[in-house]
């Protein structure tokens, strides 16, 4: 599956308070969360973003709190994937669990500029910068991470296990 969209670029250590400030966490409604996505560091993001766009960032994207509201807000805002040098671990797990594609590619994260148009092919593991003509490849996910993405997140996986009687107390 390939997706095309434009780039919203950020620096290192984009924390979960920047992605969705805690003052909005008195709800878990995805649309309400998406309306405040990136607000404290980029007040224009929500009005600029269109369906399919990409967030490209530096090191340690998603550091800070465990709030799943962060990847949820990003996904609901229309972002098709986050490309970064690397990710903070809870954000990484949360993204896989809810089905927000995330790509670790230091080369792409450094070279791609704000506003560039990208075409990302998740199966082929390729990122094409249509603005500059540069291409980057990334390692498709492996092991449990690949399993999660293939299943469409953690919910279907657990559902299957429970249906097989994983929780002996059940019923």
């Amino acid at each position: 599956m390939a997706v095309t969209g434009k780039v919203h670029k950020y620096g290192d250590h984009i924390d979960t308070d920047a992605i969705i400030a805690a003052r909005y966490l008195n709800t878990s409604d995805p649309d309400e969360l998406a309306a405040h996505c990136m607000q404290d560091i980029d007040a224009e993001f929500v009005s600029r973003v269109s369906e399919g766009d990409f967030i490209v960032a530096g090191r340690n994207f998603g550091c800070g709190s465990s709030r799943e509201h962060a990847p949820l807000a990003i996904r609901t805002a229309g972002v098709s994937a986050v490309i970064a040098v690397n990710f903070a671990r809870i954000f990484y797990r949360n993204s896989l669990n809810i089905g927000l594609p995330i790509i670790e590619s230091p080369e792409a994260a450094e070279s791609i500029n704000a506003g560039d148009e990208l075409r990302v092919d998740f199966e082929a593991g390729s990122i094409e910068d249509l603005t500059t003509g540069e291409t980057f490849s990334f390692q498709p996910l492996e092991g449990i991470a690949a399993e999660l993405v293939e299943a469409g997140g953690l919910v279907p996986l657990v559902k299957r296990r429970l249906a097989q009687g994983a929780n002996s107390r059940r019923g």
Binding site: S28, N60, S65, S66, I144, V155, N167, R169
Partner: protein, 417 residues
Amino acid sequence: MTITEKLLARAAGRDEVEPGEVINCKLDLVLANDITAPIAIGEFAKMDAERVFDPEKVMLVCDHYTPNKDIKSAEQTKLVRDFAREQGIEHYYEAAGGGIEHIILPDKGLVIPGDVMVGADSHTCTYGALGAFSTGVGSTDAAAAMALGECWFRVPESIEVVFTGELGPWVSGKDLILYLIGQIGVDGARYQTLEFKGPVIESLPMAGRFTMCNMAIEAGAKSGIVAPDETTMTWFEGRSDRKPSVLASDDDAEYVRTVEIDCNRVEPQVSFPHLPENARGLSEVGEVIIDQAVIGACTNGRLEDLREAAKVIEGRTVAESVRCIVLPGSQEIQLEAVREGLVESFLEAGCLVSTPTCGPCLGGHMGVLAAGERAIATTNRNFVGRMGHPESEVYLASPAVTAASAIAGKICGPDEL
């Protein structure tokens, strides 16, 4: 093996594990709060899960927006409370007997040395101070953990952090962890475990160890840990009927890195906006005028922290331009603080003493900052907008430095008063 590898191996039913391996572990506890549990409860239903794996092992603590600050938070808390009742979850805390999750779980003996657990809150790493493996996860992971009593982990590499020398005046566990994060950065231990050891840790009281493990996540770590010793076991005595498991790292355990810190060189620390890694010694702070001082949070809301602050504040007056907010970490701590006269000292000095809540730490309620305002806080994060307006600032410090700054109206140490 390291203590962390031993804990994970046992929970996975294995003799040995190696860093990098992905394993499935049985969990001793699962935790969620009023922000993360509502999503987890929704996902739990989507999994077609009917009952939690063991109602004794699920802990639900409503502490972030409680006492509920508005209708939306009241609805969220109600959802969690109703779920706890339906599921027969006894360990539900909101008001009486409650407080901040990472303070009450150890204090009530609900998490014990040797446990392997997850919590839908990033500061779940606090319990490493007891020699438990505990790490933060998101709501869907917590839902899966509540349904299955299991969680997958990638076995983390361990970083050994050895603290030597002697602690100077007013230097506490908070200063050590801020200094360390200043040295290694906010991603210095990403995906790894920070194992704290050395003579200074051996003589550090439990409160300081909790503070240090609490902030392991601020270096990106999966967990922080201190191997249980006499201090741990003395503190733990009488708190639980469950049998603790006391493990230690082998002499030939492998570490990905060793960081040595000579504490003789560590002065009280202040982390400047907007990252915990911007730590500076007090002598390098310069003049920073403050509008608010916050003493409390899962980082420093323990009785020892309040005593440290009271020692500085007693007999003095909070600067006219400062709101100094004291938040005891739990109902029990608050009661003890009243009995010891700490609350009286705070009130006489002009502090506001609040009911236990995470409130101001995350800019939720009970002390939100306006544009251009500055706070010094014993909390753990100083990201943009963390305590309120995106143009406000948070400086992180120990209870002693925060208390002294409240008196002076600007950032300073107790000896400068």
